[in-house]
Structures are given as structure tokens and as C-alpha cells.
């Protein structure tokens, strides 16, 4: 099957950027509206979650007697969860409400997923940045020891979440069962994701098992960047990178296959 039209790669890139931008702005309007604080819900909502969790964990004393400041521990942990978990959630069943827009040739399944993923990354990142700055300013959180490492950890988690989003989004378009199964999976994954503990605190057997989960590595990198010498982090960035790369390939090919089958409304 060949669809030919003489469009250069650069021009295609420009069109795709235009389409993703259009979808992103549309998503902001349909999701957050223009009432009260409008698009600011994009990061106010994750901030509320994170603050609530930070408060709960502080009361519960979840830092396991370690010397880590609990607020910083909660904010790094829960922000990381929001980052990788919300992207797939937003891509499940994302095609259906956008079917009408796919009447426009250049609006593809890939663009719909990409715009939703970008919006989630932006929301989680802004929320994490504001909360960090706020708590650093009032002295409840230390300065990150190695800001580069924090950025690397954040990037790896975003990559993992994005690749997972393409994969889960694509699968959910092929079978409705995926949507049902996805919720319990994320729910059960939360306590295992490294948000609530450092790998170092676990017994040796559990360490090796938990490190099969790619997001645990990302959280460990993030926390090493934040707390530096105060923690002993366990991670293998190469392992996480390989998993992310495989997921990206799988996700993009699933997305392509779904795009081929999609029938606009």
C-alpha cells in the first residue's frame, strides 16, 4: 500500500508540530475550561495530590527512621509516580473522543497520544518545580545536591512514562480489556514503584526483585540527585534505558498499527 505525496521530512515535521500544538490547546480547553483558574489546573491538580500525600506521609512517619527529610522524600517520590503513571492513564481510550477530529488527514493517532503525553509531562514538571522551590524557600527541603542528576532521573521517568503511554494507549485501542486491567495494575504498582521506600532499606532478596521494575531506577536516580551522600542509591541507568527503548519501539509500532485501522466517526 502506498500513499504518495511529495512532502519533505522538514515540512512533515512542521505539520506534525502544528497538529500536536493544536491538539494540545484543544485538550487544555476541553479538560480545564476557561472558568476559574483555567489551564492552571494542569499543575494545581498534581500539586494538590502531592501536598496531600506529603502531609499524610509526614504524619505516618514513613521515612523509616532514616535521616531523610520526610517532605522532600514524599515530594520526590509522589511527583515521580504522577509523572510516569498519568501519561498511560491519559492515553487509554484517547482515540474515541477525538475520532471526529481525525477527519483531518494530518491528525493522526500518534499526534493525539503525543499531545496528551506532553500535557502530562508539563503538568507534572511544573508541579514538581513549584513545590520544590516552595519548600526549599521555607527550608523544609534541602537544595538538590546534584541538579543534573535530578534532571536525568526526571527525564528517564518521563521517557518511561511516555513509552508506556504509547504502548498502553495502543493496546487499549485494540482491546477494551486493557482499560479494565490497567487501573488495578497502576494501583498495585504504586507501592512497588520506589516512591515510598529506598531500595537500600529492603532485604537483599527483595532488592534484586524490585530492581526489575524500570521506574524504581528512575526514582533512585532522582533521589540520589536530591540527597546525594545522605542515601545509598541502587540503579542501573543502562537497564532502564534499554527497557525504555524497547517500550518506545513497541509503543510506536502499536500506535502505527492502530492508526492504520482507525475509522473516523
Amino acid at each position: 500500500m502506498g500513499i504518495t505525496s511529495e512532502v519533505s521530512l522538514r515540512r512533515s515535521g512542521r505539520i506534525q508540530a502544528r497538529v500536536i500544538w493544536a491538539l494540545l490547546m484543544r485538550e487544555i480547553i476541553t479538560r480545564y475550561g476557561r472558568h476559574n483558574i483555567g489551564f492552571m489546573w494542569m499543575f494545581v491538580e498534581p500539586m494538590m495530590f502531592t501536598l496531600g500525600v506529603a502531609a499524610l506521609w509526614s504524619f505516618a512517619g514513613l521515612s523509616h527512621g532514616s535521616s531523610l527529610p520526610i517532605v522532600a522524600f514524599a515530594i520526590t517520590g509522589y511527583s515521580a509516580v504522577l509523572l510516569w503513571r498519568n501519561m498511560p492513564g491519559r492515553c487509554v481510550g484517547a482515540i474515541e473522543p477525538n475520532l471526529a477530529l481525525m477527519y483531518h488527514r494530518n491528525v493522526k493517532v500518534m499526534d493525539i497520544y503525543a499531545s496528551r503525553i506532553l500535557l502530562e509531562v508539563a503538568g507534572a514538571t511544573i508541579s514538581f518545580t513549584i513545590l520544590s522551590l516552595l519548600f526549599i524557600a521555607i527550608g523544609w527541603m534541602p537544595y538538590p545536591e546534584d541538579i543534573m542528576k535530578v534532571l536525568v532521573g526526571w527525564f528517564m521517568l518521563a521517557w518511561f512514562g511516555g513509552a508506556l503511554a504509547f504502548t498502553v494507549g495502543g493496546l487499549s485501542a485494540m482491546s477494551e480489556a486493557v482499560e479494565k486491567v490497567w487501573h488495578p495494575i497502576t494501583y498495585l504498582m504504586f507501592p512497588l514503584s520506589g516512591a515510598m521506600f529506598m531500595v537500600e532499606w529492603l532485604p537483599d532478596v527483595a532488592k534484586n526483585i524490585i530492581l526489575y521494575l524500570p521506574m524504581v531506577h528512575g526514582v533512585e536516580i532522582l533521589r540520589e540527585g536530591y540527597f546525594g551522600s545522605a542515601v545509598r542509591a541502587h540503579y542501573d541507568i543502562l537497564y532502564m534505558g534499554v527497557i525504555c527503548l524497547c517500550l518506545t519501539l513497541l509503543g510506536l509500532s502499536l500506535t502505527r498499527e492502530v492508526g492504520r485501522r482507525v475509522t473516523p466517526e
Binding site: 500500500m1 502506498g2 500513499i3 504518495t4 505525496s5 511529495e6 505539520i15 502544528r18 497538529v19 500544538w21 493544536a22 490547546m25 484543544r26 480547553i29 476541553t30 473522543p97 477525538n98 475520532l99 471526529a100 477530529l101 481525525m102 477527519y103 483531518h104 488527514r105 494530518n106 491528525v107 492504520r260 482507525v262 475509522t263 473516523p264 466517526e265
Partner: protein
């Protein structure tokens, strides 16, 4: 020029695969106006969507060397929960057109008044057609795909379509689906009839209608 070669489209249904188009070929030259006839469910809209690129064929190839509009149809192309104005904004962004200069034109052409700021799902089908038509006039295409949408609307809407599409843009190509014979007789130079997945071309519209009615 648009060239369709040996297009086949199959849908998977619960009762197995159903072939809607079976080896369809068609050429559309610049400025050419083609009417498409066929019974309900014969594949007219599918063909239009494949020409537009909104759907991909199961096999066969399409070459487009001119710009082609989206299918101007009753459904599709708009997000129901967005207002008319936000839909216009979306389409301007997708097609790279400046939004602000278009607003007045669309408001005037569609005559939607304050409904421009209400969600499209609250519109009647006539209002939707007016909005769809007005927005599609904002983006310039070499070929317009019209799926029934000009059949609705009142006399004034028809007069406007007549002027904007068939007079101001008479140099453009057009592919038109309509159950109303006078639309096709008035505007098309020739016609095709879809039946049983095949496309039959007729240079004479009367011959096309005869074939259509005898099938």
C-alpha cells in the same frame, strides 16, 4: 491531480470481513467536478474519506499532487464539546491559517450569531452544515470533497454556497456526493456510480442516472 489506483477497502465486522470498495480506480484533474452516485451504504462516504486521507485503504495506492479538503459532511471534523469558535481555532492551527482574520468571515457566513460561542453539540444539522461550510472556505484547497452537506440548509444558505463555492472557486476540483439529482446535474461535468464495490464512470450524467436507477 489525484490518482486512485486499484483501491480496496475491507472492514472487519462481526460477521467477518465486508468489502466496501473492490479495486476502484479514479483520476481527478485540476478543476474537474465529479458527482458520485450510489445507494445508501454503497461506499460513497468511504470513498470520499479515502480520497481525503482520513482513512487508509486496505490495499491500492493514492497519489495527491493537489491539496484536498477534509470531507465536508454532517458528522465529523468538529469536536462537539467545543464551541464553533474553538473549532475554528483548532482548524486554523491544524492547517496553518491565521485565526483572527477568519473570525468575521465565519461569523458572517455561518450566521450563527451568539451560537458561535456555544458547544457544537447544541447545533441543529443545518447550523452544523453552515459552520462546516464557512470554516472550509477559510482554508484554500485545490479540491473540495462534499459529502451531502450542501443538501441541507435553507434557500439563503444555498445561494451563499452557490456564490462562494461554485462561482468564486469554480476553478477548483470538486467531488460531490448527493442524493439530490439537481445538485449533481447543476455542478458536475460527469458522474460515477458505485455499486457492489465497483466504480463505474460516465461522461454523461443522464447515462449515470439511468444506470443508477436500473441497478
Amino acid at each position: 491531480m489525484i490518482v486512485l489506483e486499484n483501491i480496496t477497502k475491507r472492514y472487519n465486522t462481526r460477521q467477518g470481513a465486508s468489502t466496501v470498495l473492490n479495486g476502484v480506480s479514479l483520476q481527478v484533474k485540476p478543476g474537474e467536478k465529479i458527482g458520485i452516485l450510489g445507494r445508501n451504504g454503497s461506499g460513497k462516504s468511504t470513498l470520499i474519506r479515502i480520497i481525503s486521507g482520513a482513512e487508509l485503504p486496505t490495499s491500492g495506492s493514492i497519489t495527491r499532487s493537489m491539496s484536498v479538503s477534509w470531507p465536508l459532511a454532517f458528522g465529523g471534523a468538529f469536536q462537539g464539546s467545543l464551541t464553533g469558535l474553538d473549532n475554528l481555532r483548532f482548524i486554523c492551527r491544524v492547517y496553518g491559517v491565521d485565526f483572527l482574520p477568519c473570525v468575521d468571515y465565519v461569523e458572517e457566513f455561518s450566521e450563527l450569531g451568539r451560537y458561535m460561542r456555544e458547544p457544537v453539540k447544541t447545533y441543529s444539522s443545518g447550523m452544523r452544515a453552515r459552520l462546516a461550510f464557512a470554516i472550509s472556505m477559510v482554508v484554500e484547497f485545490d479540491c473540495f470533497l462534499i459529502d451531502e452537506v450542501i443538501s441541507v440548509g435553507d434557500a439563503r444558505f444555498h445561494a451563499k454556497c452557490q456564490q462562494e463555492l461554485f462561482e468564486k472557486r469554480r476553478d477548483r476540483a470538486m467531488i460531490m456526493v448527493s442524493h439530490e439529482a439537481h445538485n449533481i446535474r447543476e455542478h458536475c461535468s460527469h458522474a460515477c456510480v458505485i455499486s457492489e464495490g465497483k466504480l463505474n464512470e460516465f461522461t454523461d450524467i443522464n447515462a449515470a442516472y439511468e444506470y443508477y436507477q436500473s441497478n
